[in-house]
């Protein structure tokens, strides 16, 4: 990866690359879903919703999506990281770190002092990535219960 890495807000023209990257990682092609995400996070976020891409040599190498949420779960405004993905061929080159740093900087601009995310505990790859960025277990504990008819 020789071209300079740049993190910027997503553009509509990036969507095919984002959809293809997501399909590579998840195995699912979700064009309608990404159009909705683009409308919600890509435009009109008023500084609180962010959909960023990392590009090098005009090639999209990854994306991150986040949002500032106020007083959710009784907590002061916090920046949530909802999704982050990096082209498997571009991993270990600082793309994820640059994306997270870009999102963090935008959160900081609006006064947010905590960045938070939620992951399945068996998602070791992404857990390790967030740990490598200095993130640790937070003050909240997610709880859940299986509901519906007993099986």
């Amino acid at each position: 990866m020789s071209a300079a890495l740049r993190v910027r807000a997503v553009r509509r023209a990036d969507l095919p690359a984002v959809i293809a990257l997501d399909a590579t990682v998840t195995g699912l092609h979700k064009a309608d879903y990404w159009q909705r995400i683009y409308r919600r996070y890509g435009v009109g976020g008023q500084g609180l919703r962010h959909f960023l891409v990392a590009e090098a040599g005009q090639r999209v190498l990854g994306f991150v999506i986040g949002e500032v949420r106020d007083w959710e779960f009784g907590q002061p405004p916090c920046g949530w990281v909802f999704a982050i993905d990096v082209d498997p061929r571009a991993r270990q080159h600082g793309v994820g770190s640059a994306l997270l740093a870009g999102l963090r900087e935008r959160f900081e601009r609006v006064g947010v002092r905590v960045m938070r995310t939620l992951l399945a505990r068996d998602n070791t790859l992404i857990l390790s990535f967030f740990r490598s960025q200095g993130m640790t277990a937070g003050r909240l504990i997610p709880l859940e219960i299986a509901i519906g008819p007993a099986r």
Partner: protein, 135 residues
């Protein structure tokens, strides 16, 4: 949460070696730094050598060096060489409801411990150590 002495010592040794890539480090130096006997540390190091995490070079100027991948090797990988985590036998069918209920709680704690140790690499730990030094 407490780790067994061997696990803690192994982590300290791996961090020491990994922080000085390529350098041969004397076991006595690591033992002295952490207040452990060289004899005790030697047993721990032999396990790390067997696991391919460090290698030993004998003779004058010899010592140990890290040969693992700091960005891949996790705390869990090291700890599991010395102790079992999260594999307590589930309460059997003839156990009491109290035993089964407590077993569920302990399993929940174990699963979180495993996820935590399994997601922290040696490289991440080295960064955390550097942060502690600066603090």
């Amino acid at each position: 949460m407490r780790l067994q002495t061997n696990s803690r010592l192994a982590i300290y040794a791996v961090l020491e070696f990994a922080s000085r890539p390529g350098e041969l480090v004397a076991a006595a130096e690591v033992a002295a730094k952490h207040g452990e006997s060289p004899h005790h540390l030697a047993k721990v190091l032999s396990e790390l050598v067997r696991a391919g995490i460090v290698e030993s070079v004998r003779g004058v100027g010899g010592g140990y060096r890290f040969v693992g991948q700091a960005r891949r090797l996790t705390l869990l990988d090291v700890i599991r060489l010395f102790e079992r985590l999260g594999d307590a036998a589930p309460a059997g069918a003839d156990s009491s409801p109290e035993e089964r209920a407590l077993g569920e709680v302990l399993s929940e704690i174990d699963e979180h411990a495993i996820a935590t140790f399994g997601s922290i690499t040696i490289a991440t730990m080295l960064a955390a150590v550097a942060r502690q030094r600066r603090a």
